[in-house]
């Protein structure tokens, strides 16, 4: 509502050459984050998860792959027969659940970050190219994007996985090869939008080099939309990994991932619930915090997105 816009600086003398200072962007960002309840919650939870992931080696944890066949299916410590050495119990091969969950975070977070980074890089490069060049190249690229988008993502991933195989690195490739089209679409649309903005026109009138135009004017301004999408996408990718694990194309031993633990433990959900429930909770909490943070980021950076 127009009446609520507070523009107290535009009355007569306010246009005089007095320029008010504002807090730095980072502080502004952090302050806004702290003020939002969901943003703060998501950020703190995620920070905790990331710290546990990075500091796993420093924590006094059991070896996550060491089997103790005599200690199989130990319940968590607060249940009957639980042991303090295995606070969250053990799995069907007598491996420490707590250690596995903390180490498993690495693969899950790694897949999330790497696949998003890779697909983002591919997608943005192609999207920017298509948006800037236009013409037949744009047409061809967009038809390929249409085709890939018309194939359900999971299905496409499985077909790609047939070629790439399963495991951590192939999985990242598989997800990236499916996922990049999202970024292409958004990057292209954003380039087309930003390209028409007056400051780009102003730069063009000044005969700014096209590389500079791209790096200084276009990329920084399409970034917010992409950052928001990428943040939310990390959550989706982590979930995707668990679905692929369910179908047998996920991360494979000796690597550990939550999706894999969850998928393997689903058989024992009724008998040894902790084997899949704890990784499930960890995964849900992580994705939950990522989505909260992403939603907040969207509100903060880019109110135009739905």
């Amino acid at each position: 509502m127009s009446g609520v816009v507070l523009n107290t600086g535009t009355a007569l003398q306010a246009d005089a050459p007095a320029v008010a200072a504002q807090p730095s962007r980072l502080r502004h960002f952090l302050r806004a984050l702290w003020r939002s309840r969901s943003g703060r919650f998501g950020a703190l939870l995620l920070l905790l998860i990331l710290l546990a992931t990075l500091g796993a080696d420093l924590l006094p944890l059991a070896d996550p792959v060491k089997r103790h066949l005599s200690l199989r299916y130990l319940p968590p410590v607060w249940l009957d027969k639980g042991q303090w050495a295995y606070p969250l119990g053990t799995d069907g091969q007598g491996r420490d659940m707590l250690a596995r969950i903390i180490y498993g975070a690495r693969s899950s977070v790694m897949v999330g970050l790497a696949a998003v980074a890779l697909s983002g890089a591919i997608g943005v490069a192609i999207g920017v190219l298509a948006g800037l060049r236009g013409g037949w190249l744009d047409q061809v690229l967009m038809r390929v994007v249409d085709a890939i988008l018309a194939i359900p993502a999971m299905l496409f991933m499985l077909v790609v996985a047939l070629v790439a195989g399963a495991g951590l690195a192939p999985l990242i490739v598989v997800i990236a090869l499916t996922n990049w089209v999202i970024y292409t679409r958004i990057a292209r649309a954003e380039v087309l939008r930003v390209k028409e903005l007056e400051f780009v026109a102003a730069a063009r009138v000044s005969r700014v080099r096209s590389s500079r135009l791209l790096l200084r004017h276009i990329l920084p301004n399409i970034l917010p939309a992409l950052v928001v999408v990428a943040t939310l996408n990390i959550g989706t990718v982590i979930l995707t990994e668990s679905s692929l694990s369910f179908l047998g194309f996920g991360i494979q031993p000796p690597d550990i991932s939550w999706g894999q633990m969850l998928a393997d433990g689903r058989q024992q959900l009724a008998t040894s619930w902790w084997i899949s429930t704890f990784p499930g909770v960890a995964l849900t909490a992580t994705v939950f915090s990522i989505i909260l943070l992403g939603d907040w980021l969207r509100d903060y950076l880019d109110p135009r997105l739905p």
């Binding site: 399963a166 194309f249 000796p254 058989q267």
Partner: protein
């Protein structure tokens, strides 16, 4: 082109009619008291054509619909052929067999079963190389002669000691000549197939259910069940849940950790029994890899604690072995046992001697293909690490895994299960061995493989086959690890003991 378009239209129409099928009102059919037998399999039935699938569970359903000339039974752990559609058979000379067929058998459409149907079944296979069973069935048959309505003579190109095996298992089911001709095309016949079995075809909804109904005209007497429903439930947790909730009477492929739950449930119990499968490891032997050194291969063999694998990892639902075939299989070398095979100290010494300490060994394993396959592999990798090898697990989804084996691009060791075979001479089939271990060579083994086809005497054959199994095991081209057991959940209202060949003839499942 016009024909193909018509086919397309017909297909489209068929699927449209499926779409129009009304969904019945909700009703939860719990089995108690019903005359319907419901079986949950872990695989989709692939085809109603018994000669065009390579799938044990598909055949385990089709045995209710079609029948063989002879059956295989395993009383007291020994295989024997028993009469089925053939009352008796005799061998006129090493190359000539005559079958006397039952005269009281009728097809589901009421037409009598005759020797022409046998001839048709055999010749159909020989005329169509695309049929999957064509690579194993009736290959030695030269000609089929109908001697009378219920008598047929088959002549082989050379003496075939495994001849009777042709008439059991995938591709051995006898099909009706007249119905094929009446239907016009194979596709039309298999849309609504008929056989001679105790149950006739009602409906097949792919990936969901095959429904069969009692064939009151069956030559063996009135069948036990009104209806047999064979469902495909690929997800194990769901299959177990169906068993627990009484949704199915029989559920196959139950993981050991669910046994307690099924046993403590009021309505369910479990059966576990030996089956014609074995788990083993294939080791690379070619120069340039660390397992080229026989000492390393021996160390690997010695490092594996098979008893622990059987008792703990498989929860006791497997037998430890170094052998390649379960003892029920004809000509299985029963001297190859796991007794005292575990010797990690000696394994360490051998590795030391071979200078392979810390050597990297890639260990390929499928996941979820066989019961506990990955867990067994993980355990074996642990044993190998215990004796000083840097073993690394490489798990792959089955189709990718299979392709790697097919293209010889797996690591030093890979895990492979085998099953459903005729007899232990399978191991001498150089064709298949070349696929699974293409670089292994052994002069004696090759000589034995060359001798075997010409050998007809039971004793001589057994000697060759036993020796071949020894050679492979000594060279550790493939080393046996476990004979797994099958575990079924059985609702207490029915009784079923399970079969070594994993067939599920509904007639052998009885109401309790």
């Amino acid at each position: 082109m016009p024909t193909s378009r018509r086919i397309f239209l017909k297909n489209a129409a068929a699927s449209a009619s499926v779409a129009a099928l009304p969904f019945a009102l909700p009703q939860i059919a719990f089995a108690a008291g019903s005359t319907t037998l419901t079986i949950a399999q872990s695989n989709d039935i692939l085809s109603l054509d018994p000669a065009n699938h390579e799938n044990n569970s598909t055949q385990s359903a089709l045995v209710n619909l079609y029948e063989y000339l002879v059956n295989k039974e395993f009383p007291n752990g020994k295989m024997v052929f028993t009469p089925a559609l053939a009352q008796s058979w005799k061998q006129e000379d090493p190359r000539t067999w005559v079958f006397e067929l039952r005269s009281d058998v009728r097809w589901h459409d009421g037409k009598p079963f005759t020797a022409d149907d046998v001839k048709f079944t055999v010749e159909r296979m020989k005329g169509n190389p695309k049929l999957l069973s064509a690579v194993e069935k009736f290959r030695s048959v030269e000609k089929v002669e109908v001697l009378g309505p219920h008598r047929v003579r088959l002549v082989t190109s050379k003496p075939d000691p495994l001849f009777l095996h042709n008439f059991v298992g995938n591709g051995g089911s006898i099909l009706p000549q007249h119905a094929f001709q009446a239907a016009g095309s194979e596709e039309a016949f298999f849309a609504k197939p008929i056989g001679t079995g105790p149950y006739r075809f009602v409906e097949w909804k792919k990936a969901d259910r095959l429904v069969l109904a009692r064939n009151p005209q069956w030559w063996g007497g009135a069948p036990h069940w009104e209806r047999v429903v064979i469902r495909a439930i690929p997800e194990t947790a769901t299959r177990v849940a169906e068993a627990l909730s009484g949704g199915v009477d029989l559920a196959v492929n139950i993981p050991p950790e669910d046994i307690g739950r099924l046993k403590s449930n009021a309505d369910t119990g479990i059966v576990a029994f030996n089956i014609a499968r074995n788990f083993g490891l294939h080791l690379r032997t070619e120069p340039g890899v660390v397992t080229h050194d026989a000492r390393v291969r021996e160390a690997i063999d010695l490092a594996i604690n098979r008893q622990e694998l059987a008792d703990v990892v498989a929860d006791g639902y497997a037998t430890a072995t170094r052998g390649l075939f379960p003892p029920e299989i004809p000509n299985a070398n029963t001297r190859l046992t796991a007794t005292n095979s575990f010797n990690p100290d000696k394994a360490r010494q051998l590795i030391q001697a071979a200078g392979a300490k810390g050597a990297k060994i890639r260990f390929g394993s499928p996941s979820g293909r066989y019961i506990k396959d990955r867990e067994v592999s993980e355990a074996i990798v642990g044993y190998l690490q215990d004796v000083g090898l840097n073993a690394q697990l490489e798990v792959q989804e089955w189709s990718i895994y299979n392709a790697r084996v097919g293209s010889d691009s797996h690591g030093e060791i890979y895990f492979w299960g085998m099953g459903s075979y005729t007899d232990a001479s399978f191991i001498l089939n150089m064709g298949s061995l070349k696929r699974f271990n293409p670089h292994w060579k052994n002069a004696e083994f090759e000589r034995l493989a060359a001798e075997l086809p010409a050998t007809t005497g039971e004793k001589e054959r057994q000697a060759i086959i036993w020796r071949a199994q020894e050679i492979i095991t000594q060279d550790r081209a493939r080393i046996g690890v476990l004979y797994p057991k099958a575990i079924y959940s059985v609702n207490k209202r029915v009784q079923f003991a399970g079969r070594f060949d994993e067939m599920i003839p509904a007639e052998q499942v009885r109401r309790a």
